[in-house]
Amino acid sequence: MTKKQALSIENLVVSIEKKEILKGINLKIKPGEIHAVMGPNGSGKSTLAYAVAGHPSYQVRRGTVRLGNKKISSLAPEKRAQAGIFLAFQNPVAVEGVSVFNFLKTAAAAVGRKIAPRDFLQELEVAAAAVGLSQDFLKRDLNLGFSGGERKRFEVLQALVLKPKIAIFDEIDSGLDVDALRDIAGQIKQLAQGGAGVLIVTHYQRILKYLTPDRVHVMVSGKIAKSGGADLAAKLEEEGYRGYR
């Protein structure tokens, strides 16, 4: 994952069960940039996240998604992950009997990370501490019985370990207390400083108090209604989305 690449979304039209959700999205995230897509419920912002990651229920009707020069919008989800796309889930699913450690080891190998087992374990321990998770956490079953905060921290841990080129965080700030929010925001910031392009999908601007986005996009009814700098988020906080409908 050494080569840095931009994510280019061009005129993306996506539907779920024949209902058009995204109606022509254009967005470019360069390496090291943090973008926030904000919008009310049902605006299509999570659809954008899932469509880029390749969820099978989301059909791309028109437009393309590229990573660098490579078109990824018709690839299987695992091919996109292998190319360097990462999606942190709002509600990650549990898998019983599969330990966090085994899962991370398998996933790291699947996305092509080549690292000696001992170094990998050491790296995991450092990353777990960075997101505020204990060593014992690695032995637990994947997402099974995790608290809301643990799930979010673990999604961020995965981003640190899988070293994607583009990391998308879907509602990573929902249900977190202030301490967790600060930890997570700090790690996401570092990810961007390391050269990853970051897309934060959120309803509220809470997390944006702890990291400053380069660009903020307001999404309403499947379209980007307005784009701007970090100050746009503050304006949304005051005025809400009403003015964009």
Binding site: A53, G54, H55, P56, S57, A76, P77, E78, R80, A81, Q82, I85, F86, L87, F89, P92, V93, V95, E96, G97, V98, F103, T106, A107, A110, V111, G112, D141, L142, Q158, L162
Partner: protein, 461 residues
């Protein structure tokens, strides 16, 4: 392996003593089997009584569809070699090759406490390590056990599972051949698992092995049975009976990993009586067969007796695994834990069928039952049939049942981390069965994981 064409039946045998009974079941066939084995008269009588019961008993009105079994079209006894051998070199070459394919000698080279393998209805190869003899442990084929220790066999045979228990127990009692006889003296701990490899090899041949394990006070034994069978064009019947007596303070663990070919009807009655403070553990993995009906049972007869049953079933297209467990609490402070896991794929069907009975007076009895089903595609099916008869108010019962479909969301989550759909499915399935696999001896755990992987290969995405 096959009897001479001109050979009919009767009490004279071809020179190589390669004998196959006529097709179908009647008193003449039963008499032949008993005569052939030079059994004591009481066993012959017992077989004939069982045959009568078999004729009277109806087919079970519940469970899997057994209507395709034609009892008249089955050979009830086949003897591939004329004697038991202890040395590998004495085993006929063709049979040796079959065993080499299963890996018996390789396994023996490792650390098996004793090898006993069943080829068709006769145990033809068995070797016992000297340590077993030294400790007074008996590990023989059932036939040999009856010949050498008739008094012990007579004392216990059919006491846990009488012929009248069910139609297939009656069938086994009438026609049984082979299986194992294990006797562990008081206080003796058998350190290494006793292993038996079973194999059916003659077309249309029903295998009716009979196993009896007696664990005297304070003893411990782990018996491991693994099964494979080659493919046939017509249906084959396997109706085994396993009886276990766990004396006070003794512990018996019985592990089965079974992979019959897809045309075998596998109808097995397994039951253990557990006396005071005894422990019985059944670990039962069912992968193959056309139909399996098997419900390992624990009868907790003595105060403080414990029973644990771990059951795993995997059904593919054309397969019905009707598996489960039974726990009968007779005495106070008895406890049972039942964990059942089933996976169905490609139109396969699994059923959990369980019975929990807590009798009056079994105060302080505890039972924990968990059955989980995993369905891998919309064509597959899983049902749960739990029965509970709780007749003692001072008892604790926990029951949890889940049915989960391998969800698009689960697959997508794992795929979004770089795993292919097949790898993701494999990860979910292996995680699902992990609680059972971790209880298996290592080589079986590896074999089971490999079998599951083979089944998954190329199946998804």
């Amino acid at each position: 392996m096959i009897a001479k064409k001109d050979y009919q039946y009767g009490f004279s045998y071809p020179d190589k003593a390669v004998f196959k009974s006529e097709k179908g079941l009647n008193s003449r066939v039963v008499e032949q089997i008993s005569h052939f084995k030079s059994e004591p008269d009481w066993m012959r009588q017992q077989r004939l009584r069982a045959l009568q019961i078999f004729g009277q008993k109806p087919m079970p009105p519940w469970g899997a569809n057994l209507s395709a079994i034609n009892f008249d079209d089955i050979y009830y006894y086949v003897r591939p070699a004329d004697r038991q051998v202890k040395s590998w070199r004495d085993v006929p070459k063709e049979i040796r090759q079959t065993y080499e394919r299963i890996g018996v000698p390789a396994a023996e080279q490792k650390f098996l406490a004793g090898v006993e393998a069943q080829y068709d209805s006769e145990v033809i190869y068995g070797s016992l390590r000297k340590e077993l003899d030294k400790q007074g442990i008996i590990f023989l084929s059932m036939d040999e056990g009856l010949a050498k220790y008739p008094e012990i066999v007579k004392q216990y045979f059919g006491t846990i599972i009488p012929a009248a228990d069910n139609k297939f127990a009656a069938l086994n009692s009438a026609t049984w051949s082979g299986g194992s006889f294990v006797y562990v003296p008081a206080g003796v701990h058998v350190e290494l698992p006793l292993q038996a490899y079973f194999r059916i090899n003659a077309q249309n041949f029903g295998q009716f092995e009979r196993t009896l394990i007696v664990a005297e006070e304070g003893s411990f034994v782990h018996y491991v049975e693994g099964c494979t069978a080659p493919s046939y064009t017509t249906n084959s019947l396997h109706a085994a009976v396993v009886e276990i007596i766990v004396k006070p303070g003794a512990r018996v663990r019985y592990t089965t990993v079974q992979n019959w070919s897809r045309n075998v009807y596998n109808l097995v009655t397994k039951r253990a009586y557990v006396e005071e403070d005894g422990v019985m553990e059944w670990i039962d993995g069912n992968l193959g067969s056309k139909v399996t009906m098997k419900y390992p049972s624990v009868y907790l007869m003595g105060k403080g007796a414990r029973g644990e049953i771990l059951s795993l079933a995997y059904a593919e297209e054309g397969q019905h695994q009707d598996a489960g467990a039974k726990a009968i609490h007779v005495a106070p402070y008895t406890s049972s834990v039942i964990t059942s896991k089933s996976i169905s794929r490609g139109g396969g069907r699994t059923s959990y069928r369980g019975l929990l009975e807590i009798n009056p007076g079994a105060i302080g009895a505890r039972s924990n039952i968990r059955c989980d089903a995993l369905i891998l595609d919309p064509q597959s099916r899983s049902d749960t049939y739990p029965t509970m008869k709780i007749n003692e108010s001072q008892s604790t019962v926990e029951h949890e049942a889940t049915v989960s479909k391998i969800g698009e969301e689960q697959l997508f989550y794992l795929q979004s981390r770089g795993l292919t759909a097949a790898e993701a499915t494999g990860m979910v399935v292996n995680g699902f069965i992990e609680p059972i696999v971790k209880q298996l001896p290592l080589e079986y755990a590896v074999e089971l994981n490999r079998l599951i992987e083979l089944e998954m290969e190329g199946s998804v995405g």
